[in-house]
């Protein structure tokens, strides 16, 4: 069993430990170069690092994989038919998951302590992490329903927060939490802390053994609470509501319905719930500071960010990939639809955009309603004055062109996210290596900035290379998608029309407002080549889908 667990998780283990150690070293170097030698700042950075290391270890993929909601209950059900007792079947993987989380924390944390020359209480922190991971795993494996799993995890999370609060209050530190946790002696446990952690972990193990024992013999804990019946009823009502009542008039409508059921309603639900964040923030801020005037800023920020959040969630949901025996694949049901790759992608992009637009409008409506009901319109005064003036200076043709431009930019960025998700499933290592190479340039940039741009020749060469890569790569992607039939001529024609509007608008805006002689030739060349990006990005997703669909 231990070999099986090791075999399936060793790569992730090594990657995580390596990445976290690399991050610790990089942050140490970065903090030193920024001249952050003060103890106070050092404590803040160290505290944040400890929190980050602990959190990432808690949610290690080793057990997150076992939280796949399509499989309820215990993750190692194959073991039910093995001649192994339930106690062993539960305790071995549980201990393995816990130990792996602790080691993933210990190695980078020890490195952090060594580099910063401070003593971190590794034993107490490891005990806390082991206890928490055991409780989380218990909450994931013992219940047999998704609702039960989430309720269990929420209880553990709340228990953790309550425990941390009590611990912090007990220490009677005058400093705020995030400053205090970086101090050397903060996580020093008393004997009763260790006892409490041990009791919680042992309890979690017993609960899991008991729950898995029932699952092994086809029984389950049932919580027939009133809300279970209500949720079941609501689920049935929802199914009836969204079920098609008559035949679909076209393939497009059928596919829209399919994608909507698969991920669209999740984006819509997110869109309905998202305004509650700025709403609560505004209410809370006004409650704490009655004269707070930041309401418009909070809502404008929410309005600016939310379309991209919906886009990311939508792109992730629309991938439609399945995992089986370690392989990720597009289901044959999806792959054998009588539709071009371009049509399938266009439907996904349409649903993402439609749901995001609905969510964005709802955010705007909520902002308006809140401002009206809370009497906050006065705070919008300055923005209300500035905005019409700005709009007056924008020529009418540009206002018209803004709509297709916005559609193109949103669709192409959604397409790029979709393509990245699809390719990431096929070539995770190559793409991660690419990101690492890119990330390695960040310290180089900082270093070069301190050397008064000694490597200017390198950056200029990079600029030309990037521009050439965008042009060459972009044209190749478009040619490949069109010539192989993955992107139909009608869809490509439509995309080209939008792109022409985008290019003419962008060029016109730059010519009107930005004096080109301000920029070196490399920037102009890069800027001009990047005009191709939205069109190439649109062709990217059909190609990525083809990589799965036609292997």
């Amino acid at each position: 069993m231990i070999w099986e667990l090791w075999r399936t998780s060793c790569v992730e283990w090594l990657f995580r430990i390596g990445a976290q150690c690399g991050l610790v070293v990089w942050l140490h170097w970065f903090a030193k170069n920024l001249g952050s030698g003060k103890t106070h700042e050092q404590h803040v950075i160290q505290g944040l690092m400890i929190m980050m290391l602990a959190m990432t270890c808690l949610f290690s993929m080793t057990w997150l994989n076992h939280l796949d909601n399509s499989r309820k209950g215990f993750s190692f059900r194959l073991g039910f038919t093995r001649p192994v007792s339930t106690v062993k079947l539960v305790v071995v993987p549980m201990m393995f998951v816990t130990a792996s989380a602790v080691i993933c924390f210990l190695v980078p944390a020890a490195l952090l302590g060594w580099l910063w020359g401070s003593s971190i209480h590794l034993l107490s922190l490891s005990t806390g992490i082991a206890c928490l991971v055991t409780c989380f795993v218990a909450s994931a494996w013992a219940p047999t329903t998704i609702l039960g799993r989430w309720v269990g995890m929420a209880i553990v999370a709340m228990g953790f927060l309550a425990g941390m609060s009590v611990f912090h209050v007990q220490r009677s530190d005058s400093e705020p939490f995030f400053l205090a946790i970086g101090q050397p002696g903060y996580f020093e446990f008393a004997w009763y802390h260790y006892v409490a952690c041990s009791i919680a972990a042992i309890l979690a193990v017993f609960v899991t053994i008991s729950g898995v024992e029932r699952q092994r013999h086809g029984e389950a804990w049932r919580l027939d609470m009133p809300w279970t019946a209500v949720l079941t009823k609501l689920g049935k009502r929802f199914d009836t509501l969204v079920s098609p009542r008559q035949q679909f008039a076209s393939k497009f409508r059928a596919q829209c319905w399919y994608e909507m059921r698969r991920f669209g309603y999740i984006v819509l639900l997110l869109g309905v719930l998202a305004p509650f964040f700025p709403l609560f923030f505004s209410i809370l801020a006004t409650w704490v500071e009655p004269n707070w005037q930041g309401t418009p800023v909070a809502w404008i920020l929410a309005l600016a960010i939310c379309p991209f959040v919906y886009q990311l969630v939508g792109a992730e949901g629309s991938l439609g990939l399945r995992r089986k025996q370690g392989a990720t694949y597009l289901s044959p049901f999806d792959a054998t639809r009588a539709a071009q790759n371009g049509q399938l992608i266009a439907t996904k992009l349409f649903i993402i955009a439609a749901c995001a637009a609905a969510g964005w409008l709802w955010m705007g409506v909520t902002a308006g309603l809140y401002s009206t009901l809370a009497g906050k319109w006065a705070d919008w005064g300055r923005i209300g004055e500035v905005l019409p003036n700005v709009m007056e200076n924008v020529p009418g043709r540009w206002r018209v062109a803004a709509i297709p431009t916005a559609i193109l930019v949103y669709a192409s960025s959604s397409s790029a996210s979709l393509a990245l998700g699809l390719w990431l499933a096929l070539y995770p290592r190559r793409i991660m290596c690419g990101f690492v190479v890119l990330a390695l340039h960040v310290p180089l940039v900082f270093w070069d900035a301190r050397q008064d741009w000694a490597l200017q020749g390198l950056w200029t060469a990079y600029g030309y290379l990037l521009a050439a890569a965008i042009l060459g790569g972009g044209l190749y992607i478009i040619w490949k998608a069109v010539s192989s039939g993955y992107l139909g001529s009608r869809l490509f024609g439509g995309a080209c029309c939008l792109w022409l509007v985008y290019v003419s608008t962008t060029v016109a805006v730059y010519v009107e407002f930005v004096p080109l002689n301000l920029f070196p030739p490399v920037v102009i060349f890069l800027g001009m080549s990047s005009l191709l990006v939205p069109l190439a990005a649109l062709a990217l997703a059909p190609l990525a889908l083809a990589a799965h669909r036609h292997a």
Partner: protein, 301 residues
């Protein structure tokens, strides 16, 4: 349009170091039921996936209705009905939703036929796919695959999960109906009695190679099972031309040969053997002789 429904020429496919398909060439003629047989991992599903455009040929070509299924998925897939080996259907869909959704993709959908099949199988249309048993899923998938009366029906291991009654009566009836309408069916299976019962034409694949193809009758007539008795005990037989496999039971040998069995008989006589019984080999015997452990490395005609 080409006369053949499917034309595969020199198709090869390699997954890592494994040769899944090796220079496969075949033609599928319309109006017949074609059985695709082979051991597990022989390359049956890989071939099917190429026909559906789910794998792009790395070497060789695939034409379905004279079209490249990768370049023309709409024209090809509209005319194909496919049941995957994994019975892969969206779990959240209800049976009636599955039918409506599939119908949107096929203008030739025959609603009365779909309803007839739903009645025959006794499927509850209000049930979600995740509530169906394995067999019921196979039935739902089968209805979705055949209700638009496809010109080409591709069934990947259709018997898996179906009980004996459904397999014998309904699957046979469906596949026969397809063929009698002048349409074509290709189904892969390792249940050889089933293939023998339903197919007009057989493709036999072994380790990615097409080792045998032809009409079932021709194949069976072209292969003989000879029971041979030797008067002196022999531990082994030399390779004889036309002999595919030889299995020893004491002084008796069971030999499967093809083509020139007269020549084999003569060679056996010269070795001191007497043919005590001869009959046409069954598909199972031919399959075992061609791909089993007892096959001989002999030159074939």
């Amino acid at each position: 349009m080409s006369e053949n429904v499917v034309e595969v020429r020199g198709l090869s496919r390699q997954f890592g170091k494994t040769m899944a398909l090796d220079e496969v060439s075949l033609d599928v003629r319309p109006g017949l039921v074609h059985g695709l047989v082979g051991a597990n991992g022989a390359g049956k599903s890989t071939l099917m996936k190429h026909l559906l455009g789910l794998l792009k040929p790395k070497q060789g070509s695939v034409r379905v209705f004279g079209l490249d299924p990768v370049k023309h998925p709409v024209s090809v897939l509209e005319r194909i009905g496919y049941l995957s080996e994994e019975r892969d259907l969206p779990e959240w869909m209800r049976v009636d939703e599955l039918m409506r959704y599939t119908r949107a993709y096929h203008s030739s959908w025959d609603q009365p036929y779909a309803e007839h099949l739903l009645d025959t199988f006794g499927l509850d249309i209000a049930k979600k796919v995740k509530q169906l048993s394995k067999g019921m899923r196979a039935q739902a998938g089968l209805i979705a695959a055949v209700a638009h009366r496809p010109e080409l029906l591709l069934l990947d291991e259709p018997s898996t999960g179906l009980d004996a009654v459904v397999r014998r009566d309904i699957l046979n009836a469906i596949i026969r109906t397809v063929a009698e309408d002048g349409r074509t069916a290709i189904f892969s299976s390792h249940l050889l009695d089933e293939v023998e019962q339903m197919s007009d034409h057989v493709f036999m694949i072994d380790q990615g190679k097409l080792v045998l193809q032809g009409s079932l009758d021709d194949i069976k007539e072209g292969h003989q099972l000879l029971s041979v008795r030797f008067f002196t005990e022999r531990d082994e037989l030399p390779s004889l031309e036309g002999m595919l496999s030889a299995q020893q039971c004491g002084n008796h040998w069971r030999i499967v040969c093809n083509g020139a069995n007269g020549q084999v008989r003569e060679s056996l006589r010269r070795l001191g053997g007497e043919v005590t019984h001869a009959r046409n080999a069954t598909l199972q015997e031919i399959f075992v002789a061609r791909v089993g452990r007892n096959r001989l490395a002999v030159s074939e005609e």
